[in-house]
């Protein structure tokens, strides 16, 4: 959306090039490039489109012998639906947490000069990579255990939330920095208090960034296996990422019929969330570290 003025102008300008050959080569080049990219990005996904509806899915892509029996089998197993529900709770909870805590914090960090602010952000960003890693699993587990949050969704939300917050703050602050300050001053003169300004002015102005971050956070939670597996106990709390790994036969052979069907069902919500969010709020990053 933001790019379209450039696009229009440049096509308009190309008429003045008066270099038909170069123009023609450009078109060819673009077409080849787009075709190649399209092939590269669609090829792996084909399996996800066909295999779930195949009576006997294999690892190769083939036109299916159409059936929806795989889904029927899948939904007969009680864990599939509840797993999706649990994933939704975890993803929603984490997204809400990081959006609220992240926008409050990034706003404060963007507007008020705190000594060592930038350093703090980088340190947090770097540390997030340890904790989302496996080496910190033991401390994390013991901590969560001490806090009596084992087998509680909240524990998972807090751990993943803490792991994603630095990145969220890092990116959101960028958005906050880009909001014209006069918006807030104006609201402030009308008597709006800081929280109200944040809610009425800053959040709506930064919403395409918030939306992008929300999708990013949802994707992070949606795919995380290790944290929920280790922190949750009750099978009825298992999210889809954990359940995905249980579709194996007695001997540990992947059950392709269930995996194919579940992979589709499992991927669909994030795709829908993305679609909804990008339609409604736009989806973009500013980017650009400023000094």
């Amino acid at each position: 959306m933001s790019a379209s003025p450039v696009a229009e102008r440049s096509t308009a300008m190309s008429r003045f090039d008066a270099q038909p050959i170069r123009h023609f080569l450009g078109v060819i080049g673009r077409t080849v490039f787009v075709a190649f990219m399209l092939a590269f990005f669609t090829l792996p996904v084909l399996w996800l489109v066909f295999a779930p509806f195949d009576k006997t899915p294999g690892l190769g892509v083939s036109l299916p012998e159409f059936t929806i029996a795989n889904f029927r089998t899948l939904f007969k197993s009680s864990s599939a639906l509840s797993a999706l529900r649990n994933s939704l709770i975890l993803a929603g909870g984490t997204a809400a947490l990081v959006l609220v805590a992240g926008s409050l914090a990034s706003y404060a960090l963007s507007r008020v000069r705190i000594p060592g602010r930038d350093m703090l952000l980088y340190v947090l960003l770097l540390m997030s990579s340890i904790v989302t890693g496996t080496a910190a699993m033991v401390p994390t587990f013991q901590l969560v255990n001490e806090l009596h949050l084992i087998d509680k969704m909240l524990g998972v939300v807090l751990v993943i939330g803490a792991g994603t917050l630095p990145t969220v703050i890092f990116i959101l602050k960028d958005f906050m920095d880009n909001i014209p300050k006069s918006y807030e001053e104006s609201a402030r003169l009308f008597g709006a208090r800081p929280l109200r300004i944040l809610w009425d002015v800053v959040v709506p102005t930064a919403r395409s960034g918030l939306a992008a971050i929300a999708v990013w956070a949802v994707v992070q939670v949606w795919g995380n296996f290790l944290v929920p597996y280790i922190l949750l106990r009750s099978p009825d709390k298992s999210p889809a990422a954990v359940v995905m790994y249980t579709f194996y036969t007695e001997g540990g052979q992947p059950n392709l019929r269930l995996i194919a069907a579940f992979a589709l069902v499992y991927s669909l919500p994030v795709v829908l969330v993305y679609f909804f969010v990008s339609r409604r709020y736009g989806f973009r990053f500013y980017g650009g570290i400023k000094r």
């Binding site: 014209p180 006069s182 918006y183 001053e185 104006s186 609201a187 402030r188 003169l189 009308f190 008597g191 709006a192 208090r193 109200r196 009425d200 002015v201 709506p204 102005t205 919403r207």
Partner: protein, 368 residues
């Protein structure tokens, strides 16, 4: 409605830079008051200090009878129109105008009724549903005004609200703004770097430089009787010609040239010893040009001729000095031709070595 008073107001930035320096000022209730100055002069800082957007380092600030020095900006009951209008991009015109009322928790129906009313008054009918991005610059400016009006403030603060408009629109908006202010009668402080705008709009003008007021007065005062060379150079659509020189035998001397002393300072200057350094100032509008020699006129070759529409601006060289005169369009001189310039002694000014205007009955207008 309220007056504004600052008492020894100082705003010091970290690092010791003073945005506003020990400033005492009274703005009368209902007055249209302009703060004029080049960028960095402290005019915007003063405006933002009045708004409460900048904290005060020392001194006091009153709006009406209230001491608002430490008061939160939201409680000062002032409204500000920003240079970029600060319209909320995610809100429609109606929402934007109604926003101050929303903050004040006015009932929804009531605030949209007020918004509509205000919009009507500012000729914004039919635009209520649009987003700012769908409005023209002039419309945006009026929405910003409407939003300020709708909040029913004691004081309007305008931060260069016309600078983002193109030249023609700016003239229209100027008239509109003046009308609106007359009608509402709300005390208005207006920041601008455009002296013409200030002269056209303001009841009184404060010309600022380096955090201090250089001169405070009516447009007529500051134009006719600038307190010092800074004001003299700043005011006027063509800058005043300022010629440094000395007093010599009851006349003003620069190089080989001699000019009669301005009337208003003639007595004072005549009493001063020869050789005293002074600056002679004359607005190009008050310098007449002829191709024939005249008594008291100085002669030099034409360097540049600029068309100003109905008149011409002619620059004439005297040694290393350039003196300008505004002449009738019918009398366009040849480049290089020798012409004779004669300042009108009733309108010419004399400044002392510090740049302060000398006058026989001083201090007349300054500080008014």
């Amino acid at each position: 409605m309220a007056s504004i008073r600052t008492v020894k107001l100082t705003k010091e930035y970290p690092g010791g830079v003073k945005g506003v320096d020990d400033l005492t000022l009274d703005i009368v209730d209902g007055e249209f008051f302009a703060l004029l100055g080049p960028s960095g002069s402290g005019k915007t800082t003063l405006l933002r200090t009045i708004a409460g957007l900048e904290s005060v380092t020392a001194g006091q600030l009153f709006i009406g009878s209230r001491d608002v020095t430490q008061l939160d900006p939201g409680r000062r009951n002032v409204a500000m129109v920003f240079q970029d209008y600060a319209l909320f991009p995610h809100m429609s015109t109606a929402d934007n105008i109604a926003y101050p009322l929303k903050v004040k928790k006015v009932h929804k129906a009531q605030r949209y009724a007020t918004a509509e009313e205000t919009a009507d008054a500012l000729s914004l009918q039919g635009l209520l549903g649009r987003r700012p991005s769908q409005l023209s610059g002039g419309q945006q400016q009026r929405v910003a005004l409407a939003r300020a009006v709708a909040s029913n403030p004691d004081v309007f603060l305008f931060d260069e609200p016309l600078s983002n408009l193109d030249a023609r629109l700016r003239l229209e908006a100027r008239t509109f703004l003046k009308q609106l202010q007359r009608r509402l009668g709300v005390t208005t402080v207006f920041v601008t770097h455009d002296q013409a705008e200030a002269l056209a709009l303001a009841d009184r003008i404060a010309i600022m430089d380096k955090g201090r007021i250089q001169q405070l007065g009516t447009p007529r005062d500051v134009f006719r009787a600038p307190a010092n060379t800074f004001v003299a150079a700043f005011i006027g659509s063509v800058p005043m010609t300022l010629i440094p020189g000395t007093l010599a035998g009851g006349r003003f001397a620069f190089g080989e040239e001699r000019l009669e002393l301005p009337d208003e300072a003639a007595t004072t200057a005549a009493a001063m010893p020869d050789g005293t350094a002074v600056t002679y100032g004359a607005r190009p509008e008050y310098i007449s040009m002829s191709s024939d020699s005249r008594p008291g006129a100085i002669a030099g070759p034409v360097q540049v001729v600029e068309h100003l529409g109905a008149s011409l601006l002619v620059s004439v060289a005297f040694g290393d000095q350039l003196v300008q005169a505004v002449v009738d369009e019918d009398h366009e001189p040849e480049i290089g031709a020798t012409v004779y310039l004669l300042p009108n002694p009733r309108r010419a000014l004399l400044f002392d070595a510090e740049g302060t205007r000398m006058a026989d009955d001083a201090p007349a207008e300054a500080g008014g």
